[in-house]
Symmetry: C2
């Protein structure tokens, strides 16, 4: 998929295609459509990241609060977005045993009580062991450091979702 | 529903409950959760409006681009959000005849080509006749005036969705 074809999309097709590159935040790509034409996929990704960074702190927290828990109730009940389901599955979070699920839930709860947003990590770049280790480690961060850290993970997730769409899904949608 | 009960909601319950007061933009209430405690429902609504106004222009355009067309393909195919379906139905947009649907579609297309976002109006405060008249009239606005006008409509929709949730749905969800 060439960037020229992306640039020619109506805002409706653009939001339909890229709306979930940041989980449940279609407003972000809907806003970034205003920045066309993009010189490259990287240019588009930079525009998304700049939009995220220009949000007030509460807006960046809001992005995180639109994310599901890892190995949480949305995974158990089948209500994850397609992208999250694939990513959590890729990291092996859909095959945890009961003790592992309970352990993850305890840490997720501690994290949410401490920071007021869920633990977000790029599951495709991790596995069950590294996710649990990072969750325990990042619980020790102070709040400002952790917010920045979590937003960097959002950008990594976005990067991989964009790449996947450009390589695979997009030609079928057009 | 008392504001005290709203203030005691976890971010997850808050986003589950109020996530669509601005159409398909749960990030907005997810961000505004950081502003608790709210003194009143009005105070919460003011916080939402302030968040919207603090967005860059592209972000306000992004909000509009998350809205469906009035009497458009989402209404025809049954893919509107529950709130939009009720509102468009209230204004009689679900009982247009073929000629009226075609007329509305032509005007919607003209509007989107001119402004790069869809025509948004608070359907609950209007009917088929006033919506068609406003659509024709607002097509003549210059872009900055029209963006501001459309965002004021988003706030009216949000106001009525908030009131409905506080009066009816919320006690059942808690």
């Amino acid at each position: 998929m060439e960037i020229g074809a992306v640039n020619s999309l109506s805002y409706e097709d653009f939001v339909d295609t890229f709306g979930n590159v940041v989980e449940k935040c279609p407003i972000i790509v809907a806003a970034v459509w205003s920045r066309r034409p993009f010189a490259s996929l990287l240019d588009m990704e930079v525009s998304i990241n700049e939009f995220i960074e220009a949000l007030p702190e509460s807006g960046r927290e809001g992005i995180l609060r639109c994310h599901p828990d890892l190995a949480g109730k949305d995974l158990q009940s089948g209500t994850l977005t397609e992208e999250s389901r694939e990513e959590q599955g890729h990291a092996g979070l859909d095959t945890l045993d009961a003790a592992e699920i309970a352990h993850m839930a305890r840490l997720n709860t501690q994290y949410k009580l401490r920071f007021g947003f869920p633990f977000v990590i790029c599951a495709r770049m991790n596995n069950k062991a590294t996710i649990l280790r990072e969750l325990s480690e990042r619980l020790k961060n102070d709040r400002a450091v952790e917010l920045a850290c979590a937003i960097e993970e959002v950008k990594k997730i976005c990067h991989l979702r964009l790449k996947t769409l450009m390589l695979h899904d997009l030609p079928n949608k057009l």
